[in-house]
């Protein structure tokens, strides 16, 4: 294996890990605050891609602005989910599972009816060309993803650890009953959690839109991987999700380069099983008393 292959694989892994992080972090926040898994999370990712398709490809708004707009638009969808699904089913895990899975299908069908199911929408890359690092060709489009993730995840970290409402969000994740006693409104916080969750998934989908085929069903694989990441990282742990995202990103990329993507998925799941055997709470998870 030459230096160029190693650099290529490393960069690809970094890019894939970034996208995984963006999608998984949102899932972890939602799970942390609401104790419920959002099975429509992949569809929020898909919605982000379609925001770019609509605004950039069809309307002609600059790509970066379309990506930025994906945050509020998909965040709004997340908040609608919160209001219509998570709030009425709070504490009922089974109902939440069915309702979110159903919402995912609804979103798929709506998008399919509007923009078509059969054809894959390929979105022209706004940044053609690539740069060469030690013999490896890395497209500008991919190169953009890593810094974007760093900025967004750092922003989230700042919000959660330094800003009062971010702390309140973490407080809700640790002990909702105690948080309510401190005058924190649980409804407001679950709404905020789904805003962030949707926004991150949306931007992730938006950034990936020019790289992968855009279809109504594209979110599925990302959602499955995001669930594996959140489990490996420790449910509800943001740090854990970020670390696990990059580990999975590297596993998938390296194994795909050496063998193929099916083997890569298998190795990824095997890795999850291994982590759960050694540390059942996940990498950064803690046992709740």
């Amino acid at each position: 294996m030459g230096v160029d292959t190693i650099v290529q694989t490393f960069t690809n892994a970094l890019v894939l890990g970034s996208i995984y992080a963006m999608v998984a972090v949102g899932l972890a926040i939602a799970f942390g605050v609401m104790q419920m898994a959002n099975f429509a999370h992949g569809e929020l990712f898909m919605a982000g891609s379609y925001v770019v398709f609509t605004l950039y490809t069809l309307v002609g708004i600059p790509f970066l602005i379309a990506v930025i707009l994906a945050f509020p638009i998909v965040a709004a969808i997340g908040m609608v989910f919160e209001r219509l699904i998570f709030r009425p089913t709070r504490g009922n895990v089974l109902a939440g599972f069915m309702a979110t899975a159903g919402a995912g299908f609804i979103l798929q069908v709506l998008v399919g009816q509007q923009w078509g199911v059969g054809l894959m929408r390929s979105i022209q890359t706004p940044y053609p060309g690539s740069t060469e690092i030690l013999g490896a060709a890395i497209s500008y489009q991919r190169l953009l993803i890593f810094p974007a993730t760093v900025v967004m995840v750092s922003g989230l970290w700042y919000f959660l650890t330094r800003v009062k409402h971010g702390k309140a969000l973490r407080a809700c994740a640790q002990d909702p009953e105690a948080a309510v006693l401190q005058g924190i409104s649980l409804n407001k916080m679950t709404s905020l959690a789904m805003l962030l969750s949707g926004g991150f998934a949306g931007v992730g989908g938006a950034l990936m839109a020019p790289i992968i085929p855009v279809t109504p069903y594209m979110g599925h694989t990302f959602a499955v991987t995001a669930f594996i990441i959140v489990i490996v990282g420790g449910m509800a742990s943001i740090e854990g999700a970020v670390i696990a995202a990059f580990i999975l990103g590297f596993i998938h990329t390296i194994v795909t380069t050496m063998y193929d993507s099916v083997t890569a998925t298998m190795v990824g799941v095997f890795f999850m099983a291994l982590v759960l055997i050694v540390k059942p709470t996940g990498l950064m998870g803690r046992v709740k008393v």
């Binding site: 009953e177 105690a178 401190q182 803690r286």
Partner: protein, 255 residues
């Protein structure tokens, strides 16, 4: 207008009447204890008056506002806050962070405000308040300790400190000395007295530990089989034959 008024409170769980027609009144500045043998309905009563359960009939009012049926954070905003028997705190936060998380009760900030409005002045204010409470309760040594690493007694103290951070007028304590050793109990009793004496906070507590209640409370309400059995000063309660009967049983042969 009474400060805290419970009127004909009844709670049924299916066919079981857990609380039956209980009335009581707590005056401002009082330390009131609610006691009763196991299964007397203390916990149900506590959950009713703190808004956790909705009563089957009857009502609870605080400063003229009916609070039965309101959500907990709304009741907290009105100035009546409860603690839990378990340590209800944020284990990943330091003591200071735990106490400063309380939201300002009078603000109704919107969601957008929550994200973009970084109100430094208000944050500084709540931090100042938190420092004051920690000092007042003598917990400066633990200020930067993770809540997870505190002893049981200190975690319960932290629970009281967090309740105080919401600036309550009425503090409702659910078995504040449960599971504590005698040293920890003494500290907690001192703390509750100080909270009332120095800050004028009215205290309503449900407690198992007879000695603590007798030492701490000016007035005691006794529940038995879901009904109010007696009410009075510790001396009156101690010598009330009905109370002795409820606790020890009527049959003389027991002793």
């Amino acid at each position: 207008m009474s400060f805290f008024l419970v009127e004909n409170l009844t709670k049924k769980f299916g066919g079981l009447i857990a609380n039956n027609n209980i009335s009581m009144e707590v005056e401002k500045g009082e330390i009131r204890g609610v006691i009763g043998p196991n299964g007397a309905g203390k916990t149900t009563f506590f959950n009713l008056v703190s808004g956790f359960y909705r009563p089957t009939s009857g009502k609870v009012s605080f400063k003229g506002n009916t609070i039965s049926g309101l959500s907990t954070n709304k009741i907290a905003r009105l100035g009546a806050v409860r603690t839990f028997q378990r340590a209800a705190l944020f284990t990943d936060f330091t003591v200071l962070e735990n106490v400063s998380i309380a939201q300002h009760m009078n603000t109704n900030s919107s969601l957008l405000n929550a994200i973009f409005g970084h109100d430094n002045h208000r944050e500084a204010e709540s931090l100042e308040r938190a420092e004051e409470i920690i000092e007042f309760l003598g917990m400066q040594q633990e200020r930067d300790t993770m809540a997870d690493n505190l002893s049981h007694g200190l975690q319960r103290q932290l629970g009281v400190a967090m309740a105080l951070a919401t600036e309550p007028e009425l503090l409702m304590l659910d078995e504040p000395v449960a599971g504590m050793n005698s040293g920890e109990k003494a500290v907690m009793v001192g703390m509750i007295q100080k909270i009332r004496d120095k800050w004028g906070v009215t205290v309503l507590l449900v407690e198992h530990d007879m000695r603590t209640v007798m030492n701490l409370c000016e007035k005691i309400t006794v529940l038995d089989f879901g009904q109010k059995l007696a009410e009075g000063s510790p001396e009156e309660i101690r010598s009330n034959p009905k109370v002795i009967e409820a606790y020890l049983g009527a049959d003389d042969s027991v002793t």
